[in-house]
């Protein structure tokens, strides 16, 4: 928890009086307003509708111009006012911020509560040597504090001081002799991605497939809702359909589907390049350091101690490309955490497109005591597969099939019961992907179907344990072990009850005796 003895402070040279951001930050405020406006699209559609209604008649164009002009003027005025009303000062141990035009806000953000400081360098700040310093602290998403438009060097030295370990002897950055080879400062480079790797990430991250699924769903929804309109509109293809063979029509639709998928993939690749351009990851002084971004360079450092678990994700497309994507799982706490508010935000720190050797290097950096090469996953009990097939798939399929067959008075629906049989290989793959491993200090759990996800965490990061047993598991002497981490649950299903109890004993013993702070 928050340490009261060792308070986080900055050197006197950084302490400042009340000051404003650079005037360039007006651009930031303009863009922020526009983004906010775009995000609340639904409400704003109503405003545009209003404009449209008002602007009926002959003088439609002048009215639209007047309204757009007024809106832009308002935007500019609001941005300038935001800039004028944003003032900050740096204390010995906190940021003080006054902001807000109509509703004034006064924030005090003590350095102790700051988890992470990200320096973002948008294109328009670059010529001026300015950055946007985002204080990821107290973790509430709504109250994210950022100082947009402060000097890069100031931001960097602030970050060094604020994030340095308060218990370690304070190393005053300014007075330090020429950067010698002190081991504290040796920076271990872990990753530097060329664009080709980002293309791989764009092709193989799961988002695009999830999005494709959603898009397909949405399209079919539209198809049902406004099929009337679309029918008129599609009279040409319909004529085409009626005049051509089924094969040609299927070919046409397959072509359209492939084209759409290709567009999605292209979008995903472009997105990956924009977000992760020139991705660099390194490790020094117990912190991961990341640089990324095309239009907005972001510079983040994450203390290793804040990482609760490591997730190695290899969706099936990534498997084809021999890459995995890693997530360093951390948590941020809401400001009310000390008052008993336990709602947390799960912050994601993604390391895209890692080769096997790079993963080994990252795991070795984060968990030096763990021998990642020796990890061999033990299989779970076969009863899991039986339950999956009989109980989770066949039973509901049979019930639905009988109901539908009864309602529709046709036996064809009984064929639905074949679905679980057809997908049995998938269930088997899912069963085979399940695996668990421990060396007495770390735990690794694997799951998946085509691809896999591996979660690794040191035992002292656990928060609690649960053992669950269904009637079937009790008959076979099995149990499901659930390890609760901060903001995450890891489940190990269908392992011997004996093993589950031994794991629980070990975890509880470690939590009671290991003094390593878990955050």
């Amino acid at each position: 928890m928050t340490d009261t003895n060792a308070e986080q402070t900055v050197p006197d040279s950084l302490v400042s009086e009340w000051q404003r951001l650079s005037p360039v930050s007006i651009i930031y405020f303009v863009l922020k307003f526009i983004m906010g406006f775009a995000k609340h699209g639904v409400q704003n559609a109503a405003i545009f509708g209003g404009i449209f209604i008002f602007s009926g008649g002959d003088n439609r164009l002048p009215i639209i111009i007047a309204i757009v002009g007024a809106a832009m003027l308002l935007l500019l005025v609001a941005s300038v006012l935001s800039y004028l009303n944003f003032r900050f000062r740096i204390n010995k141990n906190a940021f003080l911020i006054h902001k807000g035009v109509i509703q004034k806000k006064r924030l005090t953000l003590s350095f102790d509560r700051i988890q992470n400081i990200a320096l973002k360098e948008p294109v328009y700040f670059r010529p001026f040597g300015l950055v946007n310093m985002a204080l990821e602290s107290a973790g509430s998403v709504t109250e994210e504090v950022s100082l947009a438009g402060i000097d890069r060097r100031l931001a960097e030295s602030l970050r060094r001081s604020v994030l340095s370990d308060p218990k370690a002897p304070m190393q005053a950055e300014s007075t330090e002799p020429a950067p010698t080879n002190t081991e504290k400062h040796s920076e271990i480079p872990l990753l530097h991605h060329p664009v080709a790797e980002l293309v791989r990430y764009g092709l193989s991250n799961n988002n695009v497939w999830v999005f494709a699924g959603l898009a397909a769903g949405a399209i079919s929804q539209i198809d049902e809702d406004v099929s009337g309109y679309i029918k008129d509109w599609l009279s040409v293809p319909e004529a085409f359909i009626s005049s051509h063979s089924t094969g040609a029509v299927i070919g046409l639709f397959a072509g359209i589907a492939i084209l759409m998928l290709a567009m999605l993939l292209l979008g995903s690749v472009i997105g990956a390049i924009v977000i992760y351009y020139d991705y660099r990851l390194s490790f020094s002084d117990g912190r991961f350091h990341r640089l990324k971004g095309l239009f907005e360079r972001s510079d983040t450092s994450l203390p290793a101690s804040k990482i609760q678990a490591l997730k190695i994700n290899q969706p099936w497309p990534a498997r084809l490309l021999y890459r995995s994507h890693i997530t360093l799982m951390q948590i941020g706490f809401s400001p009310a955490f000390d008052q008993g508010e336990t709602h947390v935000k799960q912050a994601k720190f993604i390391v895209p497109s890692m080769r096997h050797d790079q993963i080994s290097a990252l795991v070795a950096t984060l968990y030096p005591d763990m021998a990642w090469q020796t990890v061999t996953f033990a299989p779970i009990d076969k009863l899991y597969l039986k339950r999956l097939f009989w109980l989770d798939f066949l039973t509901p399929a049979t019930v639905i099939a009988i109901l539908l067959a009864g309602l529709a008075a046709t036996a064809w629906f009984l064929l639905l019961t074949l679905v679980p049989v057809i997908i049995y290989p998938l269930l088997r793959m899912n069963y085979a992907k399940h695996g668990y491993w421990t060396d007495g200090q770390h735990i690794a759990v694997r799951q998946g179907v085509f691809g896999h996800k591996i979660v690794i965490f040191p035992i002292y990061k656990a928060q609690g344990v649960k053992i669950k047993r269904s009637p079937g598991q009790r008959r076979k002497g099995l149990a499901t072990l659930v390890v609760k981490l901060a903001g995450h649950k890891v489940s190990v299903p269908y392992i011997p009850h004996e093993a589950a109890m031994r794991w629980r004993d070990r975890i509880l013993h470690t939590l009671a005796t290991d003094r390593t702070p878990w955050m």
Binding site: G464, K466, P471, L508
Partner: protein, 178 residues
């Protein structure tokens, strides 16, 4: 620990406190009553809905005369009574030097363990039924996740207060020294 044999199983360390020997303390005897009242209330609500639907829609069955369908809700009644009693009897909590445990469920059983030094805060709740019998529910929260990580229902008010004070002291003692 140089043993490489641990790859799949935790080391069997005889000095570790063993949780299989946990002795669970039963909840207050009124727990069964409370569970039964809740169970019967849900049962009554479902039965009323069923009766109304049956009357309005005139659901018939080819197997037996229509009036018998009104008696359908009686079938689960004995199960509700038996299961709530057994469930209440099986529930229990255990407090050791470093951790607290709660077990519940008779068909799907589960045992939850929470070490004191991971407890962020404790809540005491007294629902309307519990107030009648002078009982409290203790909720323990660890970091991460909005819901309670361990809940012990139907403790006698004084037991709940005592347990809460004991655990908070343990948890607090631990926070201050790390």
């Amino acid at each position: 620990m140089p043993d490489t044999d641990f790859s799949t199983e935790m080391p069997r360390n005889s000095d570790l406190p063993q949780s299989e020997t946990l002795e669970f303390e039963a909840l207050d005897a009124h727990r069964a009553t409370i569970l039964m009242i809740i169970g019967l209330a849900i049962w009554a609500a479902v039965s009323i809905v069923w009766t109304v639907v049956k009357t309005l829609l005139g659901i018939e069955s080819p197997l037996f005369p229509g009036e018998f369908l009104y008696l359908l809700p009686l079938i689960p009644l004995p199960f509700i009574i038996v299961l709530t009693r057994r469930s209440a009897a099986h529930c229990g909590y255990a407090v050791r030097a470093q951790d607290v445990h709660y077990r519940h469920g008779i068909i799907w059983r589960s045992e939850t363990s929470l070490p004191f030094n991971r407890i962020q805060h404790v809540e005491v709740e007294r629902g309307p039924l519990e107030r009648i019998y002078g009982l409290s529910t203790l909720k323990f929260f660890a970091a991460g996740g909005g819901s309670a990580d361990l809940t012990i229902p139907s403790l006698k008010d004084e037991d709940a207060t005592r347990l809460r004070a004991f655990i908070l002291e343990k948890a607090g003692a631990d926070h201050s020294d790390d």
